[in-house]
Amino acid sequence: MAKIQTLNLNYTAQNNNNVSENILEDVNFTINKGEFIVLLGESGCGKSTLLNTLSGLQKPTSGQVLIDGENLKGPDSSISLIFQKSTLLPWLSVKENIAFGCKIRKDFENLDDRVAQYIEMIGLHNHRNSYPHELSVGMAKRVDIARALVGGPDILLLDEPFAPLDLYTRRKLQDELIYIWQESGMTCVFVTHNIESAIVLGQRIIIMSNNPGKIDSILDVPLEYPRRHSHQLFDKLKRKLLKKFGMAFHL
């Protein structure tokens, strides 16, 4: 529901030895409304920095992020971010955690109903009054997702959200995420270093190179959802990406 554009994004930071490092260099891309984009790259290539910049949490050293043509000035409630580590507040129950964002924005309209609806959707009705330490990692991740969605964001940014999960839970949650995205029509940007996840999820995969973080290339994934690993094209794309990383980083 919103188009994201980046114009010559640069981000420079001081490292531990007080030497300034280019984390992002001349990042330019356009993400269409309602598109599912995967940002794929090695750990430390600046993809999380890029995602934080898209969320407005981090200001670029130079360049701009345009949301529907407008310059992004700071965090915006229409852009929701899901972190790698679960960020459920330990002193709030599942229900209260999901309502947290809406409550601080004073968005109280039908809040109880909306929260209940998302609890149903993530299948945690019996755990709605549980506290985060009583949940498994997969359940906690579902609550993170529900909290990010309950405010009805136009853009959902995900920073390796499924990395701490086991393979079964990850595949299940990936399918659920695709279903939610198709139902809602949000624009999704998903950061990962996992090639299979990238192919399962992305309509397009933006491949980032390392040191400094740059856009290497953009790969189209012309496969129907839900995507199966057994598909011939899946395998072909996987080989292509593996080869790309092998060549790009001399592995």
């Binding site: 965090p75 409630s77 971010l81 330990p90 601080i104 330490h133």
Partner: protein
Amino acid sequence: MNDSNHTFKEKLIFGIAGSVIFLLIWTGAGYLLTIHPDFQHFAGFHPKATFKALYHLLFDDLFWNSVLASLNRIIVGLCFSLVLGIPIGMLIGFYKLIWQITYFPIQFLRMISPLSWMPIAILVFASFDSSIYFLITVACVWPILLNTAQGVNRVNKDFINMAINQGATDWQLLTKIILPSALPYMIIGLRLALGIAWVILVPAEFLGVSSGLGYSINDARDTLEYDRLLAIVFAIGCLGLMLDSLVQFVEKRCYLKFMAKPG
């Protein structure tokens, strides 16, 4: 459930065993002290005499007035410490610059025995009561301040980013994320402060006030009532234990609610 019952039973048995050993050592020490004919007048230090005096104390209005006077001083002193320690601790925990600037002065002041301020306190404050409030505050502010600072400093940065992403204002960050995160640390600070306050109280009450447990000890010494003296000492220990258990109870509840458990 079975396991926790087991540990409770163990706690009880070992607790009783410890108390019995304590009583035996006390009896032995009392016996050794009074074996010499010159020390016969110290017979009041025996557990039997002490407990008898303690029983009398329980029906003594003067004793309960002393307890109330002492508790009042502790509470007022702790309130001053909280009012000073929590905001300053939060500033120190939040701004690295303030932490760096205040580090040496705080470590320096912290190492000075609060009782060293006694002569100055008497000069500066009009009443003895205010001097005692001051001494308790000077002793208790440090653990509260430093623990608050540590709690604020250790707030999960992802929680802050999450709240900002969800649209939190600075005030909401403070009240919805930082304060609840730091609360368990503040309570640890409070518990340490309470222990220190209780220790400082008795010498502070030697200062010249005419109420309180410290004063009662002095009074019992002057009137040579050693059984009463030791009974008050015993009561101080019991009250301190109760106060600590109370804060420990709150601390445990708070830990369960506010701290993320590993795994």
